[in-house]
Amino acid sequence: MTADAHALTTTEQSPVAGLAHDTRGGISNPILGMILFICSEVMFFAGLFAAYFNVRANAPEWPPLITGTQEHFRVEMLPLVLPATILLVSSSFTCQLGVNAIRRDDRTGFLRAIAVTLILGVVFLLMQATDYTLLYGEGVTLDAGTFGTTYFTLTGFHGAHVLGGVVMLSVVLYRGMAGQFSSRHHDAVEATSLYWHFVDVVWIVLFSTLYIL
């Protein structure tokens, strides 16, 4: 047993730790914290969605005309957006596979699943960046009327959250490769996975709103 592991044991036996750790079982502090954080993130996106629907409801027609032309703004699902959506949704499944693996102490399966999730997340971001470049080329820009403003604000903040998720997944992967996490101690994995699912759900709602509705 290393010195660090020994220190951990004494902390757990001190009466202070007896209060800090919940001996009554139930949800752990970091996971409850992450759930509350996700609640607040839901409200953040609710604000942005409220703005989108408000602007859309007040517009005489939607999507609006491009200024100075008879053409309507348009965003295409193919070739990029639909595949990106499929990738992101599958990454939620691979992430959950990773969590299930570490719950039964399958460290190899855990690392593999998290690595795949991370790659899917990065590919999603690259595809979104490509999509942005194409749209900017066609004149759909952030300052191109309410359509551009709402489209880029909503998808941009979702993208920023994916980036945040990618950073969290990288940390989890790094810590996993350094030998951390076990079936008993993997709050960070559970919390990251919750966050990743949240980011995925936001995208599904965004996709339905912007491309289908």
Binding site: P15, L19, S28, N29, C39, V55, N58, G145, T146, T149
Partner: protein, 557 residues
């Protein structure tokens, strides 16, 4: 009830400054919150006095430039709300909540420190507008188009700095709210069930729910405003399909619940003070808890009463909900009054401030209920009536509540008593000054004086009342002198407080003053919401040793 520090590492020597900057101890962070907030209270107060001096007489005296005047009242409002009232109450929560539920610290001590240190940074950002060509001047509400980057509105970086500062403060609030919720849900001592928690803990719980759910909506509004100002966005620009009222909706969806964020913990503070100084339990504990939860829930459905005159909101609904939210508030009034009724009252300074809260908040509630009525609001909207109302609830309510808390917990925080005579002097000066400042504003509002004007005609009939308000403002300022002198004297040579100078009811008084790191090594048995009362009267056993945690906990996953 001797208490010792438990962790050898926690007692290792560090220099004082290093210790305060790097601390993760909830008590030290709580005190940092209080000190930081009081500094911003004085800065915001100076802006208020500048505004009042300008309005003392018709014509321009002190601030000769309307633009600067706009910056003054904008900074006054922003600082008082975001850097004083909200954080000062978080400070009390930070200090008292872990102690009152028998926990060693907050659930996430390092995030706690992070939440605090964002505040002074945000304050510096906010004020740095003055050296970069003018601070934000669109009022603390920053309505569009006033806050847009265009001529006759808010050009220059001041408004952007305002946005950045508020995003920082919002992030700090959200992290703090999550921290409180996890602490309260997960860190309570054995026996401390939800319905045995002190009322302050309940109010912090409801406040934190409001913070976690409402603050991110403000963040989204701020980001939209930032995009409009800096990247050519069109959210709030009607000319290109945006909607100026959208800003008001999203802004008030946060800022109305924020009103309860600014007053609920103060209600919690006086609900701690009143029972102790009338030697009775709080009348109707559960009714109070449900009233608090009711205010929190209804708080999300009244935001548009700030926007009656826009013509863009459904008036009957928001008027009804606004009247409805007066009901749980009225329940609390009964709780407090019947706590005092037939109590053995000792008129110490904390109780005086709590009584100040009761009476002034009552006036603020009544004049607020007038404005809930749509036709009355159409007449009073944006007049000094509204200024009177909001100061009666926020100053008469929250600030009096805050001073009740300072006088009540100062002995616990420092181990020394504050001087009663100086405390009572401060109360009398502040009470008179407050009413002299804000009561005339009711009449000014009724006679049509609009908010946010830098000057008025000498024939408007507002001269005497404005002068009275200015004199009152300086009286409030003067009342801070006995307070600061009191704190200074007490820190230097105050009477030693002992563990429990007030014979109080809650757990923070079961440990030493000031408490050691990690707060307790022994906790009394907890069988009611007044564990120390039970202990004093032999209802429970003295200082039960903490339960042996047994073998290391086995997480379920």
């Amino acid at each position: 009830m001797a208490t010792t520090a438990l962790t050898p590492a926690a007692t290792a020597y560090r220099s004082g400054l290093y210790e305060w900057v790097t601390t993760t101890d909830h008590k030290k962070i709580g005190i940092l919150y209080l000190v930081n907030s009081l500094i911003f209270f004085f800065i915001g107060g100076i802006f208020a006095l500048a505004v009042r001096s300008e309005l003392a007489f018709p014509g321009f005296q002190l601030v000769r430039d309307e633009g600067l005047y706009n910056q003054m009242f904008t900074m006054h409002g922003t600082i008082m709300i975001f850097l004083f009232i909200i954080p000062v109450l978080v400070g009390f929560g930070n200090y008292a909540v872990p102690l009152q539920i028998g926990a060693p610290d907050m659930a996430f001590p390092r995030i706690n420190a992070l939440s605090f240190w964002m505040l002074p940074l945000a304050g510096i950002l906010l004020l740095s507008g003055f050296v970069t060509g003018g601070a934000a001047a669109a009022g603390w509400t920053s309505y569009s188009p006033l806050a847009q980057d265009r001529p006759l509105s808010s050009q220059g970086p001041g408004q952007d700095l305002w946005i950045a500062a508020l995003v920082l403060i919002g992030t700090s609030s959200i992290l703090g709210g999550i921290n409180f919720l996890v602490t309260i849900f997960k860190m309570r001592a054995p026996g401390m069930t939800m319905f045995r928690m002190p009322i302050l803990v309940w109010t912090v719980l409801v406040t934190s729910v409001l913070v976690v759910l409402a603050t991110p909506v403000l963040a989204s509004a701020l980001i939209m405003l930032f995009i409009d100002r800096n990247y050519g966005g069109h959210f709030f620009d009607p000319a290109t399909g945006g909607n100026a009222v959208l800003w008001q909706n999203v802004f008030w969806f946060y800022s109305h619940p924020a009103v309860y964020i600014m007053v609920l913990p103060a209600m919690g503070i006086i609900s701690e003070v009143l029972p102790v100084f009338s030697r009775k339990p709080l009348f109707g504990y559960k009714a109070f808890v449900f009233a608090t939860a009711g205010i929190g829930a209804l708080g999300f459905s009244v935001w548009a009463h700030h926007m009656f005159t826009t013509g863009a909101v459904f008036l009957p609904f928001f008027s009804l909900m606004t009247f409805l939210i007066a009901v749980p508030t009225g329940v609390k009034m009964f709780n407090w009054v019947f706590t005092l009724f037939r109590g053995k009252i000792s008129l110490s300074t904390p109780l005086l401030f709590a009584l100040g809260f009761l009476s002034m908040f009552l006036i603020g509630g009544i004049n607020g209920a007038f404005s809930a009525s749509v036709p009355v609001d159409f007449a009073l909207h944006d007049t000094y009536w509204v200024v009177a109302h909001l100061h009666y609830v926020l100053f008469g309510g929250s600030v009096f509540g805050m001073f009740a808390g300072i006088y009540y917990w100062f002995p616990k925080m420092t181990g020394r008593m504050l001087n009663e005579a100086l405390g009572k002097t401060q109360f009398v000066l502040m009470f008179i000054g407050f009413n002299l400042t804000f009561f005339p504003m009711h009449i000014l509002g009724l006679s049509g004086m609009p908010r946010r004007i830098a000057d008025y005609s000498s024939s408007a009939g507002w001269n005497e009342l404005n002068l009275a308000a200015t004199v009152g403002g300086f009286l409030i300022g003067a009342s801070m002198i006995p307070f600061l002198w009191n704190v200074f004297l007490s820190l230097r040579s105050g009477k030693i407080a002992g563990d429990d100078p007030w014979e109080a009811n809650t757990l923070e008084w079961a440990t030493t003053s000031p408490p050691p790191p990690y707060n307790f090594d022994h906790l009394p048995e907890i069988r009611s919401e007044r564990p120390l009362f039970d202990l004093r009267h032999g209802r429970t056993h003295a200082a039960a040793v903490l339960p042996d945690p047994g073998p290391a906990p086995q997480p379920t996953h």
